[in-house]
Symmetry: D2
Subunit: 380 residues, 4 copies
């Protein structure tokens, strides 16, 4: 694996490296870690890399590494730069014939996302997207629960992503994370919508197997002086008949990273909370509630495949992240040029999820500016 | 106290009686319990009442009881009939000079509610409304927390009332509760909106001290064959700048009576759930969460005034209900004809809450039929 | 009902009165509320009693009330005095032919308890004991769960009663509750053992249907200057093969009234916590956990019989207390002189529980003073 | 790092490897993975190791690897064999001059443990022990809380380790983990005492800074046909005045790995549960409870040093395990022959913890066979 971005001050870079490394199946061997002069080199050193494989730009890296002997050649590129630099290196990597795994969102605009999709279609290469939260074993279980019809027809979906870290004008106090995430030039059209709203939407669609078809959104900037939205709530309609609510906010003071979802069908409902990810509550109509737990023998094979420890030995965020890498890595390992990749089998977020995410953000922004109640999410 | 409604098969009648009786301050001495011939008498017997004070109709009761000697005379009337029979006896009672406590909703239509308000204004009599959930001590604490400014300016309000009991077409299976609650002729304009949505709205306004000023609502009937809505979600704007979401549904299969609210301000948020009503979670920005508990010495005087047992001896629904009766009863006891009642001091839901509830339902129904995003709640 | 004790400053008196009154089946009509001159009268007034039925001493009351006409006569006596005054009025009441319900512990010593038992046996009258915690519907459910064999053979029992209110030398600061409860002359042989340890032991035996047969106890006084024990932990053996741990402490600073129990059998375990009394967790070996909830249709008839509100409308401590009164009251109502009372049918704590509690305290104190590991609880 | 044990069918081997690998600071380069012919080789292949560095026995490995050039030489040995094979390779490794990290328990007997301690003292080399649970950041926080005196003098310690996996005679059904853990020849003197009781004791001592000085134990075999104890409960006295209870059982059917601890001092108590390891509840006398969360800015530096992700991104068992490796690895990296290692600074379990664990097991077994209440844990 070669990495683009993820220099010494990066938050998400080390997360990707730990997640990729945890199973001993993926090795970081090259990188263009930063545009800050010298930082790429320093990062490479800190990571014990061969200095000859540490580059100043990703273009250099892609060009130089192509000449490596087969057994040392990069199998794929990991792109972990800020949002506005996802598209460039991803596109270049695909064009150089590399598989790519890219931090979410896939790009800066819907058009960019569509360009990447076209490139993936054309090259047959694999693009993975680290929508981390669908990597949790219990999320797999929830999806299986719904697709097996255990809840009956799905009626209601409530998905929430409350955070509190942007309750103050943090971006003015030198916090780098806050700084780029609230800057339209680096972050994109949407603040809370894009940063966390897309995770919530992705989670809801992943678990229910239904696509959001219409939104009615309230989006605004709660903290004065901020340049992007930091709060959204919206009513949802799904394509197979469910309806629901999505809320994503960065100003729920006191909240950490409280992504959670509840899905109700005719017979009962399920509830999952990211902060206690190894537990799923199942509420039955007329029967006692049940509590499902990661690592138990009764879990589905789909969930078990993404579990590393026995029940009662909690798994967390890094393991969920690692699950994306593991599934993506397996697809890369089994990849045969010219043969279509069976994404269903590997079960990781791909270019389609990326396009869908950008489409969601674009539509929500459109809804905000509309006085009409409902705005449809069109196929793109 | 004299009671209208609450015959042997009633659900809410016994709840009112237990709630009124728990403190030993209020005694049921007369009643017109049912329109079913003989049932009023049978109910009176079961309740050990003097048969001469058990009536077939409330008109009879109001007329006859007025002639009682002062020390035996009814202090007030409790109206616990189905929704469409709230207005009649309440109006008659006021006209006969009785104070009235009436089960929520106050009436069948906004116009009826306004008529009652006019009558209260004119007579100076007291009308209490059993919006039970604001009777919990921890809800008083939450309100105090907000009004003391502990959370800073309020930004977000999420209030939910999910139930699951109407997940099937229960009204067709002989269930009396389901039957009248889903019948527009007995229940009114709104199903879930009126039955539980108003509780949620009332709770949100009570705690925040802000009024809902605009709604954008999705309301529909999920279970086929039902004659009233059983599910609603709506975006909210409040008059002092907060925004939020309200959801009320009777088809969240597996849910019991899961009323809950979260309120976030600049400095933190609070969370309260009716099913564990003695606990309030306070989430602080940058400090450890706190957990407040009913009965503790650190609770506010406002909350302590509504507590009966020490911390760790849980109080429940009946106690919350009893708190409404206790506060109302105290106002009645201290009532002086011609002197204005200080509702703020006693802290129980009154005719204004009743009008507001009907106004809410009426506006939400209007929103549903509108293609425009926002519908204002007008002053009435 | 006539009451002994429960004057204006009493904690438990009002609890008994509210609990007795909640269902509208029991009416307080007479009382000897206090030995403090004038307080009995003042209490009677505050309770709206007929002054002629308010007495200075219980002897007076018992004598005078016997002459009442049949329809006004007292059905039973409620004894709510401090521990050292439980025996006297209970004995006198039985001797005067009254049924008795007495606050726990039944008496000051094992001998006194045995005397009461003899009297109950001789007179055939009913003696109820307010071991409140077995009055919760969910405790009934737990007992039924075990007796139905759902957990298989019971192996382990962990019962705890941690409180924190005596973490400081509260009795020296004028707190009346702390004062008499830590005074050997008013409270008895055991401090924490007697006050709360007996509740824990009673709960464990009630749910499991097994009797504690041997104890190995650590009992001591943690807070310097206190005259009774405030902390105990003990290993337990049960007569049908289970073993376990009991802990009861009043110095677990920060705890409220956290009585809880876990019982494990061959197939699974159950867990119940008094502070959230409407929930029971069932942990299954190899299957998802279940969560049982008061008021649900799937609950056993034994539990349903003690429920007042539908699921999701929480019941609390007063309702549990009221359940003891209701069951006792029903037994009193159906009592026929000369006919043996079927205690099993009514399901409330009786004189046998009282004797057993005193025997437990006596044995634990013996264990403390022994260097031997195990001390048997002998039949008495 | 070189590894002894951890072949393809091992449970704990992969856990060690993932834990060691997660931070990118430790690389597995050699191993003697199994005594089963061919399995060591197969394991090496699966792990992408250089075949020339995969050995059939640890003796071979230690001998051969000593001749590696400095930059390829093993920095330390990880011993992950079953209990009865901890001593041999650890001793040999130390004798060959390697630092050692060894799976708990350190050895098969107290004598073996003391031999290793002597060897560590003599060589000055580092021995780490993977008592995983003290690796959690929140356990560090708990320890700091106590040592900072926030709870006042510690009075009560309740520590529990209930599991349910041995509720049936699993060892007879071909389960390898059950098989060796219940075999006295492979597991040692204690079943539940050794396997999980030592974790509980270690956790209690680590957090409180007090040593268990006396025990009074009930230990037995609940499941018929089993050759080692599967259940223990004991009363504890600590050297600085606290007392408490420890329970460790493998027959609490339905429990997973529910290690938990509660510690109460004069001012309040703390509670931590391994299954939700990122949360610590702090109960205060007279103040609202607090909830501490991993990753928050208010955590102590001691805890922050062992955290990888921001608050709300849950960390789990592997991260706790990795914390032991990280601290041990740092000590190894900074090791200077002849200079005493400052164990306090690195904060990982060492040879002293190993000796203490064996001493605990030995004493508990002695207590079981004694009719006396208390058995002291002697210094060894």
């Amino acid at each position: 694996m070669g990495m683009v971005g993820g220099g010494l001050t990066s938050f998400i870079g080390p997360v990707h490296r730990k997640a990729a490394g945890i199973d001993g199946e993926i090795e970081l061997v090259a990188g263009a870690f930063s545009v800050i002069p010298g930082e790429s080199k320093a990062t490479g050193e800190a990571l014990y890399l061969d200095p000859s494989r540490v580059y100043e730009t990703y273009d250099e890296m892609f060009a130089a590494e192509k000449n490596m002997p087969a057994d040392k050649r990069l199998d794929f590129i990991s792109v972990v730069t800020p949002n506005h630099v996802h598209f460039g290196p991803s596109k270049a990597a695909l064009e150089h014939g590399y598989h790519v795994i890219v931090e979410k969102p896939i790009a800066f605009s819907l058009d960019e996302a569509k360009t990447l999709r076209k490139l993936v279609d054309k090259t047959g290469l694999i693009l993975g997207l680290t929508h981390t939260y669908t990597g949790y074993p219990m999320v797999k279980e929830a999806r299986k629960f719904v697709s097996d019809g255990k809840l009956g027809k799905i009626r209601k979906v409530y998905v929430e992503y409350p955070q509190g870290w942007l309750s103050t004008l943090l971006e003015k106090s030198g916090n780098m994370q806050a700084s780029w995430r609230t800057d339209p030039k680096q972050s994109g059209l949407g603040g809370a919508i894009g940063d966390i709203g897309t995770h919530a939407a992705n989670l809801a669609e992943y678990i229910t197997g239904q696509k959001i078809s219409e939104v009615c959104a309230l989006v605004h900037t709660v903290v004065e002086g901020r340049h992007l939205d930091d709060d959204t709530s919206m009513l949802l309609k799904f394509d197979k008949g469910a309806s629901g609510v999505l809320l994503a906010t960065q100003v729920a003071a006191g909240e950490e990273n409280n992504l959670n979802i509840r899905v109700y069908g005719e017979k009962g409902g399920i509830e999952w909370r990211q902060q206690e990810p190894n537990t799923m509550i199942v509420k039955w109509h007329g029967k006692p509630m049940e509590v499902y737990r990661t690592g138990q023998g009764y879990m589905s094979d789909e969930a078990k495949a993404f579990t590393r420890t026995p029940a009662g030995h909690p798994e967390g965020y890094l393991e969920a992240f690692a699950n994306i890498y593991r599934a993506f890595g397996k697809a890369v390992k089994e990849y045969k040029p010219g043969k279509k990749v069976n994404y269903e089998k590997y079960d990781f977020p791909d270019v389609e999820d990326g396009v869908r995410g950008m489409n969601f953000v674009t539509t929500v922004v459109k809804s905000v500016n509309s006085t009409k109640k409902w705005t449809p999410i069109k196929d793109v």
